[in-house]
């Protein structure tokens, strides 16, 4: 599928209503829009067509690269003889462009390499701008809990979030690269459990795979049967991390600041009303996962797909972290937060952006996958690269 680029300032401003705020120049909004503007400008600087060497500028048609072959396509632009080119090409093929953006590595790379990494970032991740997000307790709506105890407003720094959940094909690269054997990717506390992270045939791989690989025809489907630890190890290997719970909600609910202080948020990424044609939840299709790039119309304002439906997504936060202490729900083991609902989520309200579920971090369920996030500061080498250019 071809991805649209959402990271333009007009798009961001139009989507959030900040354009008018900037024009009006009200002091309350200036501070916010100032940070947004810097994010927007940064985003503009990250656009691949702006940093790509002039000779290689392709037509807009050529830019629409299939997500599946994006890494290969980008890597093909590099020389096969040069050792650094070879390393960068390998990283791009594996989708590990985020590692190239780390300052310690970026300083040793050529502009051409950073441009390719920027292009991959632009094609596969969406910028979620800075701002406040309202995190509700599960009791807020049903028990008329007061907003003072049932709601928290979190300030979020800008970050990038994968446009699609991690697919089987993407996770297979991690498996092939021996990710399960690289102990530095895993928390020391989980090393004893590493031997249990095997597939149906006992190979280190997601639970429902067989012989260390996924079933035929499921390459583009989200990887499922992975524990929170496997998701985290993959994210570390690829140079990213799991999004925090509040960041996930920020990306989906796309809050807009209002004069009363509490941001106005969307119930679902596309709006307030649930629409079965926009997400894969119970009763929509065949009660199974679909490719990660389907339901394009259900994308968030920022262009992030399938935040609702298809698979629950692991986040980096503890489950129940937004509940008032007096109404805490106990679990046998501390759980990690899940967001977004899955193909078998029965109730629409349980796949709304504000609904938080949770599971044992060791659980390897048939309907839990994940997507990765990247911190904004990690992309600063690109901004410097742009300035140099």
């Amino acid at each position: 599928m071809a991805f649209r680029t959402y990271l333009t300032i007009p798009n961001i401003l139009a989507a959030t209503g900040l354009g008018s705020a900037i024009v009006a120049g009200s002091s309350g909004h200036w501070a916010l829009s100032g940070s947004w503007l810097s994010v927007g400008l940064g985003a503009l600087a990250l656009r691949s067509r702006d940093v790509r060497p002039a000779a290689n500028v392709p037509s807009p048609q050529v830019q629409r690269i299939s997500r599946k072959h994006l890494g290969d396509e980008l890597a093909a632009r590099l020389s096969a003889d040069d050792e650094v080119d070879g390393l960068v090409a390998q990283m791009l093929c594996e989708g590990r462009f985020a590692l190239l953006l780390r300052p310690e590595l970026a300083s040793t790379l050529r502009q051409e390499h950073l441009a390719l990494a920027a292009e991959m970032l632009d094609e596969t991740m969406s910028l979620v701008p800075a701002g406040d997000v309202c995190m509700n307790s599960r009791w807020l709506e049903q028990d008329n809990e007061s907003a003072a105890t049932g709601r928290a407003i979190m300030e979020i720094e800008p970050f990038f979030l994968d446009r699609c959940a991690v697919s089987n094909a993407e996770f297979a690269r991690f498996v092939e690269a021996g990710g399960y054997a690289q102990t530095e990717l895993w928390e020391a506390a989980i090393w004893p459990a590493l031997m249990q992270f095997v597939d149906q045939t006992g190979q280190p791989a997601p639970r429902f795979w067989s012989g260390g690989t996924y079933a035929e025809g499921l390459a583009d489907h989200p990887v499922v049967g992975v524990s929170w630890y496997e998701a985290k190890a993959y994210a570390r290997w690829i140079g990213k991390r799991l999004p925090d719970d509040a960041q996930w909600v920020k990306a989906g609910a796309w809050p807009v600041a209002t004069s009363d202080g509490a941001p106005q948020q969307r119930r679902y990424p596309w709006g307030e009303i649930f629409d079965h044609s926009l997400a894969n939840v119970w009763g929509c299709r065949e009660n199974r996962t679909v490719p990660v790039d389907e339901y394009e119309q259900g994308a968030s304002v920022g262009g992030i797909q399938q935040l609702v439906g298809n698979v629950w997504e692991w986040t980096n936060s503890e489950w129940g972290c937004w509940e008032p202490p007096s109404k805490r729900i106990e679990t046998i083991v501390p759980m990690k937060a899940l967001r977004g609902g899955a193909f078998d989520t029965y109730f629409e309200n349980q796949c709304a952006c504000q609904f938080q579920s949770g599971d044992d971090p060791l659980a390897r369920r048939h309907n839990i996958g994940f997507r990765c996030a990247l911190d904004w500061p990690q992309t600063q080498p690109l901004a410097r690269n742009q300035e140099d250019t």
Binding site: G283, T331, M335, G341, T345, Y346, Q350, S357, G358, D359
Partner: protein, 300 residues
Amino acid sequence: MSTGTYQELTSLRIAEYAVGMPCFICAGGNSSDAELCRHCHAPIAIAHQANVQKLRPQMIAVIGPAASGKTVFLGMLLDLLSRQLGDLQLLARGAFSISLQQSVMASLARCEFPTKTPNEPDRWNWVHAQVSWQLRKRLELIVPDMSGEALLQEINHPNSCPVVRSYLKKCAGAIVLVDAARLDCGDKEPDFFAMKLLSFFCELHAKKGTDRIRPPLSLVFTKADQCELAFTNPREFAAKQSPGLWQTCQQRLSKFEFFASGVAGACGYSFSRSGKQVLPLRVEPRGVVEPFDWLVKQLK
């Protein structure tokens, strides 16, 4: 005028009282305007519907110990079937048949389990529905949401809850629910209770000359989302974790099958004045329709 009308109604009422309305469950006599059977507390509406529509509904029991998930299983089953997404379709007959589905769905949508089914039969929810499949095949069914404690009471103290005995005796088949999560933790209580239930059911349906009873039984391991082996291979799970039940089925039943089901993806607990309360963290039904589907297709 008013005096004349009064006399007419009274005579009509006397005439109606003279013709008794036998309860569809226990066949006990009742007046025609009774709401519940005075003998077994089953709704008389079932008998009215059977008479008016010239139907002879079959009965299916959903049985299991207290807190094995009968109400959630039945409520979710009704909701799933009423959406007609697969082969089976369910059409409720009578407004009273929708109450269970309504209350279970309302609770689950709030991420709560429904409150415990009362022990008193007059407070149970009854469902009368038409089930159809493969376009032409139809079946009228009556299923009550029985209390697990009332079941145990009738087993341990016969005739303490007569509706249980009357109903189970008339059942054409049953769905027996067993708590898989408890079995998986090494708790043998669900196994013993399932054996008790089966023995009781077999006793009611025993025929001379054979040890095996004819009504088909679906044996469902509920809460299987908390122990995946039950989902992967319910028969293996039964043989390993519930050997008593497994043996009883082999020896006493002629038609049976093991299934696994789950409604909550994960659960938490809250502690209040009323004690520990289990809460579903999300609702994702699995394996709820299959046991019912198998069972109704075994019925003639």
